[in-house]
Amino acid sequence: MSAVWALSRAAARRRRLQTTVIGIVTFVSAITIVVALELFSASSAPFEHAFAQQQGAELVAAFDKAKVTDAQLVATGARPGVTASAGPFPQVTVDISQPSGAGPSRLPSVPPGPLTVVGRPSPGGRLDRVDLWSGHWPTGAGQVVVNRAPGGPSPVGSVIELSDGQSLAVVGAAYSVSQSAGAWVTPAEADALGAKESEMLYRFADATTSDQLRSDLTSVTGGLAPGALAGSRSYLTLERQYSTSVAQAYVPFLFAFGILALVVAVMMVANVVSGTVVAGLRHIGIMKAVGYTPGQVGAVYLLMILIPGAVATLVGTLAGTLVSKPLLSTATQGLGLPAPSVSPWLDVVVLAGLPVLVALAALASARRAKRLPAARAITAGAAPSAGHGLRAQRALASTALPRAVSLGLGLPFARPARTALTVATLALGVTAVTFAAGLTSSVIRYGQLQQRTSSVQVTAAVRHNGRSLLVVSAASDQRTAELLASLPGTRTLTAELQTVGELVGPNVRIDLDFLRGDTSSLGYPIVNGHWINGPGQAVVGPGFLKDHDLAVGDRVTLTMGGAPATVTIVGETWSYDPSGLMADWHTASVLDPGRGATRYEIGLRPGTNLASYIARANRADPSVMVQANGGLNGDEQLIPDFSTLFTVLLAIVAALGVLNTVLLTIRERRRDLGMLKSIGMTPRQVTVMMVTSATALGLIGSLIGVPAGITVHRVVVPAMVHATNAVLPSSLLDVWTAGLIAALALSGVVIAAVGAFVPARNAGRLRVAAVLHNE
C-alpha cells in the first residue's frame, strides 16, 4: 500500500493546479448541493416541516372557565389517544381600536377589530413552541407579543390601543404555526384583561384525517359539563389554507432549482474527475510498466483525486451550511413560515456522499485505463490518434484564417474523447444558465400574473374599521369612484364588491366578486372561454369547476339571502381558487340592490409616479386605504436571488471544467507547443490558439445547451404550475426573446474563453528549452 500512497500523495502535491481545480469544483459543488438539499427539505413540505419543528398543536381548543376547572382540563391530557397536551392558558378576546395618531399611510401593528390574547408564561413548552423572532416574551403587565410571520419590520416599540381605553406595549413578535393566538401576554395579564376562557393544546396518536380529529375532540371533551367547549380548530384547516395560498406556488420553483443544482454539481464533479483520468493514460501506462497492478492504479487515481476532494467537501459543506441559513430564512419568509433549522443530517449525507461520488467517477473512468494493456497506454498518451484530426486540420489550414486560429480550431479534432468531455461540461453549464434565466423570467411573470401588476398597479380598499361584514352605501361608493377617477394619473378604474354568498343547489358558501367598469383592464388571464362582456356572466378558477363538477358554458344560481340570480360561467382563469366567483355588476344589483363597491383597482397612466399617486389618493379619501399592488416583494425577489446564486455557482463550475480540460490538453501537448514556439509562434499566438479552440467548443456547448435548457424549462415549468393545480397560461413559457437567446448562446463562449484564458496564457509563456528538454 505504501507505493500507492506515496505516489498519490506526491501527485496531489505536485499537480497543484489540477489539485486546486478538483478542490474548487468539489468545494463549489458541495456548497451547491448543501444549499439545494436544505432547500429541498425546507420546501418539500414547508407547513409540515415548520409544524413539526414547533411541536405544533393538532387541536387548539378554548373552554369556558365558568364550566370547567383547570384541574379537569389538565386531566384531559391523559385521555385515550392524547399523546401530548399543554395548558390551560387563560384566553381573552379584546377589541383593538383604530389607531389614533397613525397617518393614513402607516399600517397599524395589529389591524383594528377582535384579537385573541392568550396568557402564556413562555414561548416554549411541550407544544406550540413559538418562534420568538423579535424582542422578548412579556414579563409584566401592559406588555404584549404579537403573532406574526418573521420578516418585514419588527413591530416592537409600537402600542396597541384597546377600545376600552387600555393600551398594551408591543415587546416582541413571535410566530405560531398552529395559530394558537393573535397575541400573547403573561397569564396574570390575561386574567387582568378579563379572561373568560382557557386554551388547551393537544397532539394525538391518530390525527391525519378530519374524522380522526373529530373523534379525538370527543375523547377530550367527554364527561365535561355541557357547553364547556367554547370552540376548537384542527391543524388540517391551517394546512389546507396554506396549501392553496399563493406562497405555496413557489415551492415547486424552489424544488426545481434544487434538483438542477444537484444534477449539474454531480455531473461537473464526475466530468472533472474523469477528465483527469483520461489525461493520465500515459502516466497509467508507465505505472503499469513499473508493476502497479490494475487495482493499485485505480487506488492511486482515487487517492490523488480524493485527497483534494475530501478536504474540499469538508470545507464546502461547512460553507454551504453557513450560506444556506440566511437563504433559507429568506425562502421561508416568502412562504410566511418561520425559518427552519439547518438539518445536520444533510451535512452528513453530503460529507459522506460527495467523496463516494468522486470515487465512483474516478473508478468508472479508471476502468478503461485499467484494462488497457500497458504498452498501448504509454503510446496512447504520447501520440494523438492520427486519421481523425488530420483531415480536419488540413482543411482548416487551407482557409484564410490566421494560422494560430486555424491551428486552435483543429486541436479539438485530435482528441475526440477529451473534446466530447469538454463540450459536455460546457453544454451542461449553458443548460443550467439557460434554464435559470428562463425560470427567473417565468417566475417574475408568474408574480405579475398573480398580482396583475402590468394591468392594475394600485388597489384602494374601503377601510374595515373592525366590522365583520362591510356594507358600503351606493352613495359613498359613487363619491369614492368619482374621486379616484378624477385623480391625475388614473387610466382605468374598476370597482369591486367583495362579499360572500351561496351556491344554490350544493348550498356552499362562496366568495363573490362583482365587477363594475372597464373590467377587462383587470388583466385576469383566461385559459378557457372568454372574459365577462355582458350581464349575467361569471368567471371562475379551475378549482371551482373541479369541486362543483362544472364546465365553461354551465349556469349556476347564486343567492345572498334575498332573490337568487343565475349566471353563466363564460371563462376560466388560471389560478386554482376553489371558492371564488367573479361576476358582472348587474348580478350584484339583482342579488342585493343598493350595495356599493368595497374595493377599487386602478391602472395608472404610463409615467405616473406610484408613490406620490398613492399618497395623494390616501389624502383625497380617508375612507379607503390605497396601496400598491405587489411589485417584486419578498416572495418574488427570492426566485431571482436563488437563480442568480445557482447560476453563478454553476457558471464557475463550468468555467473550471474548461480550465481543467485546457490544462490537461496543455500538459499533454507541451512538446507540440514547445515545438510550435521553437519554429517561431509567439506567446500571444499560442494563447490565441488555445483560447480559440476552447471558444469553438464553447460555441458547440451553447448550440447544445441553449435548446436543452429551453427544453428543460418547457418540461419543468408546466409541471410546477400543474403541481399547484393551476392551469398554465402560455405566457409563462413564452419568455424566450431573440436577445435573450443570443445572450445565452454567448454565455457558453464566454464561460469557455474565461476558463481557457489562464492556462492558455501559461502555455504561451512555456519556455521552449524547458519543454523540449523534457521530452
Partner: protein, 235 residues
C-alpha cells in the same frame, strides 16, 4: 506456479508469436529462445516490430496468437494483475524515452519499484541509493525527472529496472534519445550487468551498441525474423 527449471536454463521462449493491430501485422510468427545469462540484441528498421516483440516478452501486451513463456511462466495464462505481479519481480525494463513518473523525485522513482513488492519505504530507498551510487547519480537523488539530463534520467530508469534484481532485463532503444557520451555510459552499464550474469535483451538499430553489448543478434523485418547471428559471426 514456477516449475522445476531444466538444466539448460531457458529464460524466454516465444513460439510463433503473431501480433496484429487491426490491419497492421506487427509480428508475423516469431519463435525465439533466450538462455540465462545471454545478451541478445534485436535489430531491424523502424516499424519492423522490435518494440512489439519486447512488449510481448515483458507482458506489456498480449500476442494475437502464439505463446510467450518467460521463466517457465506462460504469460497467456496470466490476467492483467498477474502480468503486473510477474513484471514486478521478474522483469526490469528501460525505454527510449525513460518513462519516469514526473511526480516523484529521482530516488523515489527507483524506490517505488521495490515498495511495490512490499519492501518498506526506508529499505527501498536504501537499496535505490546503493544503485544510484553505483550509477554515479547519488547527488541527483532529490531532483525531479523534469530537471535531469537525458543520461541521468536513463540511469534512474536503469536503477529502477534493477531494484528487484530481475532475472530478465529488457531495454528498448536505451540510447536512442541520448548524446554519444551518455549513450556510451549507459552501454557500459549494460555490458557490466551482463558480465555479472544478467540476462539482457536490447532493442537497437545501432550496430555499435549491438556488437558491444550482445552475444547474439536477432534481425527482424516486417514482423518476421530474417536472421540470427552470434557476435563472433558479425565480427
Amino acid at each position: 506456479m514456477s516449475t522445476e527449471q531444466p538444466p539448460v536454463q531457458v529464460v524466454v521462449s516465444l513460439d510463433t508469436v503473431v501480433k496484429e493491430y487491426g490491419a497492421t501485422t506487427a509480428l508475423a510468427g516469431v519463435s525465439l529462445e533466450i538462455a540465462a545469462g545471454e545478451s541478445v540484441a534485436v535489430m531491424g528498421p523502424s516499424g519492423c516490430g522490435k518494440s512489439t516483440l519486447l512488449n510481448m516478452i515483458a507482458g506489456l501486451d498480449r500476442p494475437t496468437s502464439g505463446s510467450v513463456i518467460v521463466q517457465g511462466e506462460d504469460l497467456g495464462h496470466l490476467n492483467e494483475t498477474g502480468l503486473c505481479l510477474f513484471r514486478r519481480r521478474r522483469v526490469g525494463m528501460i525505454f527510449q524515452f525513460f518513462n519516469l513518473l514526473d511526480d516523484l523525485p529521482a530516488l523515489d522513482n527507483a524506490a517505488i519499484a521495490a515498495q511495490l513488492t512490499g519492501v518498506s519505504a526506508t529499505q527501498a530507498r536504501r537499496r535505490a541509493l546503493e544503485l544510484f551510487d553505483e550509477l554515479g547519480i547519488a547527488d541527483r537523488r532529490d531532483t525531479y525527472p523534469a530537471l535531469l539530463s537525458g543520461g541521468e534520467r536513463q540511469r534512474v530508469a536503469v536503477a529502477r529496472a534493477l531494484m528487484n534484481r530481475p532475472s530478465l532485463m529488457l531495454a528498448d532503444e536505451p540510447t536512442g534519445a541520448l548524446d554519444s557520451h551518455s549513450a556510451e555510459q549507459v552501454m557500459d552499464l549494460l555490458i557490466d550487468l551482463n558480465q555479472i550474469g544478467q540476462t539482457l535483451v536490447v532493442v537497437t538499430h545501432d550496430e555499435h551498441l549491438a556488437t558491444r553489448c550482445a552475444s547474439r543478434v536477432v534481425r527482424l523485418s516486417d514482423g518476421k525474423m530474417v536472421g540470427e547471428q552470434s557476435v563472433e559471426q558479425l565480427l
